[in-house]
Symmetry: C2
Subunit: 343 residues, 2 copies
DNA sequence: CGGAGGAATGTAAACGGTTACATTCCTCCG
DNA sequence: CGGAGGAATGTAACCGTTTACATTCCTCCG
């Protein structure tokens, strides 16, 4: 007697009294099939509870209909601290998924916690997909080199080393920081500005810091050694707690919103009035910034469009593997609320 | 001359001077291979930029090392409104990804916007994975039936119809709402309670509404027709704007945090003092609740563990397809902050 | 009425790995 | 010194689809 293994095209074909080719044609959307046959096959599939084998389909068609995303897991697996920093990633994922869905693609995600494991994870994702997106620090040149054969897009990647080699999408970090910092300087007349930087290996964070230094220096203001955080509220708090209350700067520019929120929360707990005693601003434009007290002045970056653009580039390259590498810069927008001193 | 198609085990084998079997063994982690051979093969893979074909591997090994997740897309694709309601999903995804990562699995995600398309999407995800998780309303009985052959877990699913058929994980909605509502009644002495319900097709939302009705009725208090929202801040606002200020209830219990935040924001804009004039509480325990004014009293549900548990159940069923269906209930915890009237 | 032409369907060879089984080649011991 | 035994490697069938090509069977027109 037959084992109860899951049914294949052959089983469906037998039950419907047709060949496997016909079943296959019914699967891929009824090319030249008589309506009667089509219906008979679909009925057989239904009856058998047939599920096509994606691996087999992928093998012959050379298309998995999957795009992969590899991103850093900023969270601490033990404590849940740091999960807030993943909001950005979540939005990029959402943008990718929405863009991919309409075109019949699903999104495969994998996060890297240990930088050592980046290549391994990226390869494992790459081997199951038609193209891969590498987010931020998960795109070292070594990985990019190794995966060259596959359509690949780097989102929020390193500065320019790879720009000529691989498709990239990033936001206009410099423009955003410039608008933000100029606002603090020009509108509010702040002179002593401090920067709370992101992790050293974050490309976005690096660009923001560089832009900040440029502006401040160009304005003839002192550039102080930046504080360091890891994009989480938690480090924002820690850093704020270590500040000397008596010698606060005029403003603290944070490399992202979550750290700004941590700073604001911790400073207020210490009795510091914001923005009166010190202005605090962020970068990203996540929803929670609107609810903080005071509401957070920030730079909104288009996170979902980042993911959507990545999908488009992937498709473009799939269609034309030899296309010139693209290097997209999406615009940012200053979002003035109250934490900078505006009302 | 050879075309520049991507290299296969055969190419690697030729270059390393071994057979394809040896290459395969090198791939799957060096079973009985002499160190010299292993190194030679790895070198060849490196040189050729070899990427194993996941589809081919999946076909023979009958394992894709992928778990899929199908969830509802609550957001409005046009306006970005409603994306906030996806915070819950994001956390479940994160829980799944983290749990799956360690066991060598990646997560394939697909969202359904149009309920009609649920089955089609679920099947497409199912066919590419070793098991699938259906979230909330994406698990109608018809879909469950059709995918029966595959390991499947329903997270936050319908009440009990399917409990005996399929593995499930959900949180203790009734317990959470009970604790929350009792707190309002017993501690704050509220008598007029209003419920802001979620979308009618949300199983979680349904359970929360039912539990609320039970408690209120049991306490001998009036049960008013619930307000209706769709889990987004936006509808929270809308609903709050339509309330008559003169006849506000003592408290509004919202089926999730985002709606509660919308309600609070909109009411405060209308000059209503919270919690003095009316208490507002939520459900979920998302991070932003801590920053709202006043900080949101809520019921924390373990979102990441939900995803992690789903992965465990998937693995369990993969190991033993005949296992008895499990129906897990994860505990919730009342998180008292200020929006209920506590200090 | 015969055959051209086209629509519907069937046949069978890939696709790129894995793995059961076969083979080779040592090592080591009686 | 012969052969047992085991480690390393090779051979080839198979996994479940897709698809190029072959076949069948109409329809329709000269």
């Amino acid at each position: 007697m037959e084992v109860d293994r899951s049914p294949t095209v052959h089983d469906v074909a037998r039950r419907a009294g047709v060949s496997t080719a016909t079943v296959s044609r019914a699967l891929s959307g009824g090319a030249k099939l008589s309506p009667a046959t089509l219906e008979r096959v679909q009925r057989a599939m239904q009856d058998l509870g047939y599920l096509p084998n994606g691996a087999a389909r992928g093998l012959t068609s050379r298309r998995t209909r999957v795009f992969a995303l590899c991103f850093p897991d900023l969270g601490d697996p033990e404590t849940d601290a740091g999960d807030d920093a993943m909001l950005y990633t979540d939005e990029v994922v959402r943008g990718m998924e929405r863009a991919a869905r309409g075109r019949g693609y699903a999104i495969l995600i994998g996060a890297v916690q240990d930088p050592e494991a980046t290549l391994e994870l990226a390869m494992s994702l790459a081997s199951r997909s038609d193209g891969i997106v590498l987010l931020g620090q998960t795109a070292p040149t070594s990985v990019i080199q190794r995966l060259k054969r596959l359509p690949m897009v780097v989102v929020a990647g390193r500065r320019d080393d790879d720009a000529s080699t691989v498709d990239q999408v990033r936001v206009d970090n410099a423009g955003g920081i410039t608008a933000l910092t100029r606002h603090l300087i020009d509108v509010h007349g702040h002179r002593e500005l401090l920067f709370l930087a992101g992790p050293a290996d974050s490309p976005d964070g690096g660009e923001r810091l560089d832009a900040f230094r440029t502006i401040v220096t160009a304005a003839g203001l002192p550039f102080h050694n930046p504080l360091r955080g890891d994009f989480t509220q938690h480090t924002g708090r820690i850093v704020a707690q270590s500040l000397h209350i008596e010698e606060l700067p005029d403003a603290i520019v944070c490399a992202n919103d979550q750290m700004a929120i941590g700073v604001i929360t911790a400073l207020r707990e210490r009795g510091v009035r914001i923005p009166r005693d010190v202005a605090v601003v962020g970068f990203d434009g996540i929803g929670v910034g609107r609810h903080v007290q005071p509401p957070l002045t920030t730079v909104r970056q288009p996170m979902q469009p980042l993911g959507a653009a990545a999908v488009s580039l992937l498709e473009r390259r799939l269609a034309n593997p030899a296309a010139e590498p693209e290097d997209l810069r999406l615009p940012t927008r200053l979002e003035v609320r109250a934490s900078c001193g505006c009302t």
